[in-house]
């Protein structure tokens, strides 16, 4: 990490930043975080006699009756409550996750049914490690921006997996966000431009039928996370002509608290700009939910006119970057659903034994 600047290759002046044919934005947003918390020191106690300093204070853990579908339903309901939109007018429901309950049978069709959006719609599950939800957002911008549909619901949600005793177990949390993408004139935040950057980089993967992901240790840093996040952010900013100082907030994918802080530093963003959306210390890494739930926390406190940068990262590897500007509609819509902080402050601490039961780590 020491020599990496993320600026090794110059950005082409004709950078391929994407803008929809007609204005698009976020009509409603919603978050979800389960009730249970496992302190990092519990994991350290069980596996290293307390000798490993935890990466995060605690992580969120789903209850026995929760999964990506139930969590996505609640976040989606919050997004719809904020938007005040008739769910039957939603043209697409897309759920991005690494932990869909079924290998074959979509999460999205259950979510669409539960929120009353069925049956005149596209429904599909997205997979691109931790950027599956932001990829769904990009596609939603395209479908709404082309005028093919008026509203699309893009959700990033995970009950993240980490092998017992592995470094990832300290951070693999549960939660995410849902965004109802709609026309700019009905938006609480307008998506001004976006960009996606993807390469074949094997930093983290989970093979078919494998219960836990594997990772390439330090390889997950420079050639994976930092390269993709910084390239995506720099290319987007080069295309829109914005500089870090033009943004009130920035959200970067947060596999741990350190990576997004370092990415912000590399890109010239301050601690103050990333603070509101930095949730990893409290809930861990919610994988496909990570960048998106960070954005929900930012929208919970942003003011009209504020500009927001969001950059996700998915292993394998790629980043989606979005430049948004908040509108007056946010003030009226924000109180219509629980804030992300309401879910985070609803917490019941559990020990490693209960965690092992809740996460199906005990074979009976």
């Amino acid at each position: 990490m020491t020599n990496f600047t993320g600026n090794e290759k110059p950005i082409s002046p004709a950078a391929p930043v994407m803008r929809p044919a007609r204005g698009v934005g976020i009509a409603g947003y919603g978050a979800y975080v389960p009730r249970y918390r496992l302190p990092g020191k519990e994991i350290s106690r069980v596996w290293t006699e307390g000798n490993t300093p935890p990466t995060v204070a605690e992580k969120s853990v789903p209850g026995l009756d929760e999964d990506v579908i139930t969590m996505a339903v609640e976040a989606a309901r919050n997004a719809l409550d904020r938007a005040g939109t008739d769910p039957s007018g939603i043209g697409a429901v897309w759920v991005g996750s690494e932990s869909h309950p079924y290998a074959v049978k979509p999460s999205s069709s259950v979510v669409a049914e539960a929120i009353g959006a069925s049956p005149n719609l596209l429904a599909a599950d997205w997979e691109f490690a931790c950027k599956a939800g932001s990829e769904a957002m990009q596609a939603a911008v395209g479908m709404v921006g082309s005028g093919m549909i008026r509203y699309a619901l893009a959700i990033g949600m995970d009950t993240a997996q980490g092998r017992p005793g592995d470094a990832l177990e300290y951070t693999a949390g549960a939660g995410g966000g849902a965004f109802l993408i709609g026309p700019a004139e009905d938006a609480l935040a307008v998506i001004e431009a976006s960009y996606s950057y993807a390469t074949d980089t094997p930093d983290f993967w989970r093979r078919d039928h494998a219960q836990y992901p594997s990772h390439a240790q330090r390889f997950t840093g420079e050639p994976a996370y930092f390269k993709h996040v910084t390239r995506a952010a720099r290319t987007l900013l080069a295309g829109t002509g914005a500089s870090p100082a033009d943004f009130r907030y920035a959200v970067f994918h947060q596999p741990n608290p350190k990576f997004p802080q370092r990415a912000a530093e590399l890109l010239g963003f301050t601690r103050e700009q990333i603070q509101a959306g930095l949730l990893a210390p409290q809930i861990g890494n919610t994988y496909a939910g990570s960048a998106l739930i960070g954005l929900t926390a930012v929208l919970d406190q942003a003011a009209p006119g504020d500009r927001i940068l969001v950059v996700s990262f998915g292993s394998g590897a790629g980043s989606d970057a979005f430049q948004l500007t908040v509108t007056e509609k946010l003030l009226e819509r924000r109180p219509r659903a629980p804030r992300t902080a309401d879910y985070i402050s609803r917490r019941k601490e559990i020990d490693y034994g209960v965690y092992a039961r809740y996460r199906g780590k005990l074979k009976m």
Binding site: L64, D65, E66
Partner: protein
Amino acid sequence: MDIARHWRLRRQRYALVGEQCGHCREYIFPPRDICPHCGEEAGPVHAMCGRGEVYSFTVVHEPPTGYETQAPYAVALVKLAEGPLVTAQLTDVDAADIKIGMPVEMVTRRLRTDGAEGVIQYGYKFRPHLAVS
């Protein structure tokens, strides 16, 4: 597990979709052919708001088949804001904290699964009101 039956009932189970009687205006859950209040034809459909309070409850320690992994869990009679009384599990709450009259709200959760390879059934449960700032 009866896939067809659960599939037919999915709207009421996922989202508390009941009815409001077109004759006497009373709310009906679950939906039925004849209004239990006035004896006329029931309907049209009406989605309940999901809010209610605990009318009574018990804690299940000896669960029926299909619910073994969840025990102990609370089952309550919930009086919906619209009037109907529904039976449902309570979730996201410790049994010691449940009180009669406690305000609760509907959430959609996993009800049971048909083994490791069967379908997952989702449906309504109730949890204490989420405290909002």
